[in-house]
Structure formats: structure tokens, C-alpha cells
């Protein structure tokens, strides 16, 4: 396992080719050179904790603006801005931009959040597995 054999390296090269082939997708409507894809961005942190979170939301918005289908799934403390507050405006803006914004119902219950900001929908975690089944490009932050 520790020292790759020639066969190991050949298999890795074949695996890399399979990944590249899978990445060949339809062109973007805004830029024919750029492929379009489905993205799922899982957000497990809250914007009160780190400024990485608004940047992550910006990534979702940018992907959407380039013609991709984008879902942001809030989980754990990532659901905290789903409660109407100053921080929830960021999520509402995302939804207005066409990004689907979902919040894990279990995480919401754990935190006693029952009222959601505009544009945010409660969802079971099963949705994430749905996306994985479909081969959606999935990120976690």
C-alpha cells in the first residue's frame, strides 16, 4: 500500500481519465467555453462565526450567475442565519438570485428555529443523498 506499483499507477491514471470524462458537460449559456453543472454547497458554519460563510454564499451566487443549478444546504450551525435576522438577508438575497436555499430540519429543531427567513425552506437531510446519487458536484464548508 505504501509504495505504489506500476499497476497501481496505471489504475490511478485510468481513474483520473474517468473523472475528466465525467466532467465534460454541456456549455454555459453565458460562456460557451464554460461547462454547466449542478452544484450542492453544504454550509455547516454560520456567518456569526467566520467571514468565510458570506464568501461561500458568494461562490453559490457566482455559480448561479454562470448558468449552473445551485443549491445551498444549511446544516448544523449553518442553519442559524435561517432564523430571521440581519444575517438572514444574505440567504434571502441568494434565493432571490435563483439559488435554492434549504435548511436541515433536524438542525433547525435542535436549535429551536421554527420561523424561517424568506427564501429558506426546511428540508430533510435525504436531499443531500439525492444529490450525491445524481452526481451533483458537492462541496462542504
Amino acid at each position: 500500500m505504501d509504495v505504489a506499483s506500476v499497476d497501481d499507477r496505471k489504475e490511478r491514471a485510468r481513474a483520473a481519465r474517468r473523472v475528466r470524462a465525467r466532467s465534460a458537460m454541456v456549455p454555459s449559456p453565458t460562456n460557451p467555453e464554460e461547462p454547466v453543472a449542478d452544484y450542492l454547497l453544504i454550509a455547516s458554519r454560520d456567518p456569526f462565526q467566520t467571514n468565510d460563510v458570506p464568501t461561500y454564499y458568494d461562490l453559490a451566487r457566482s455559480l448561479k450567475e454562470r448558468g449552473n443549478d445551485v443549491t445551498v444546504f444549511l446544516v448544523q450551525n449553518g442553519v442559524l442565519p435561517a432564523r430571521p435576522s440581519a444575517a438572514s438577508d444574505l440567504l434571502t438575497a441568494l434565493a432571490d438570485a435563483g439559488v435554492q436555499v434549504l435548511a436541515d430540519e433536524f438542525s433547525l429543531r435542535e436549535r429551536g428555529i421554527s420561523t424561517l427567513a424568506s427564501g429558506v425552506t426546511s428540508s430533510p437531510l435525504d436531499v443531500v443523498v439525492d444529490h450525491l446519487e445524481a452526481g451533483t458536484k458537492t462541496l462542504w464548508s
Binding site: M1, L125, T136
Partner: protein, 137 residues
């Protein structure tokens, strides 16, 4: 099931440290209920998730013994995910990073866990329908 998928999860968090572990196991359990082929590559502290010697303990602050405390043991959760997958026609192939195990002395894992390394992960990435990397902060 005919539409079974191969899903790979990459875990880094040690047990009892972050809600990411709970969420990861919840996701795996859903995938197991659907009968998917599940690969798990655990590295760094995550190699302790299936550690065989995890032991429930009492909570003297609350005046509870070990049974009353009903302490969560991640190795039991991992075993439950494996059993659920098998029951539904799927499987769980759990690899603990060998170097990470050696560093931590985490050699004794529950049944169904094997030792491996990054080449296994590269192979899985090429062979999986999806890969979810759950990083630490």
C-alpha cells in the same frame, strides 16, 4: 436495488469533537437505507471513529451510572450503518488511513474496517458516482 450507487465519504474529524461527525453518519445511514455501496476513507482523527475500545462511562455530575447515561459510542453508530447497508443489499467498505492509525495507536477497530492509504482513495474517486469530502474547519 437496481439503481444502487457508489458513494464515497472522506472523513477527518475525531469522535466527540464536532457535529460534522454526526451529520456524516446521518448521511451514511440514509445511503445505507437505500442500499448503496458506501466507501469511507477516514484519516487523521477520524480513524478513531470505529475504535473497538470505546467504552461507555457514568456521569457523576448527574448521578447516573453508565447504563443510565446511555453514552453515545461512535463505533456502535458505524456498526449500525454497516448492518443497515447489508440489510438493504448495500455495503460499507471502511478504510482507515494506515499512517494515521500508526501515529495514534488506533489499530483495534471493529469488524469491517480495513487499513489503507491515499491510493485507495484515488481509486474510489474514479469509481464512485459521488464523493463527499467533509473537511475540518
Amino acid at each position: 436495488m437496481s439503481d444502487s450507487k457508489t458513494l464515497t465519504f472522506v472523513l477527518m474529524d475525531a469522535p466527540y469533537e464536532n457535529a460534522r461527525t454526526t451529520t456524516a453518519l446521518r448521511l451514511m445511514h440514509i445511503a445505507a437505507e437505500r442500499g448503496h455501496t458506501i466507501n469511507v476513507f477516514a484519516y487523521e482523527g477520524a480513524v478513531y471513529l470505529p475504535f473497538a475500545h470505546q467504552k461507555a462511562h457514568p456521569n457523576p455530575v448527574h448521578g447516573k451510572d453508565a447504563d443510565e447515561e446511555d453514552h453515545v459510542l461512535p463505533r456502535e453508530w458505524v456498526a449500525e450503518v454497516m448492518a443497515t447497508a447489508a440489510k438493504n443489499g448495500g455495503s460499507v467498505d471502511w478504510i482507515n488511513c494506515g499512517f494515521c492509525v500508526d501515529e495514534r495507536g488506533a489499530h483495534d477497530a471493529i469488524d469491517g474496517v480495513r487499513r489503507g492509504g491515499p491510493p485507495n482513495l484515488v481509486e474510489w474517486v474514479g469509481a464512485s458516482d459521488s464523493v463527499l469530502v467533509i473537511p475540518t474547519k
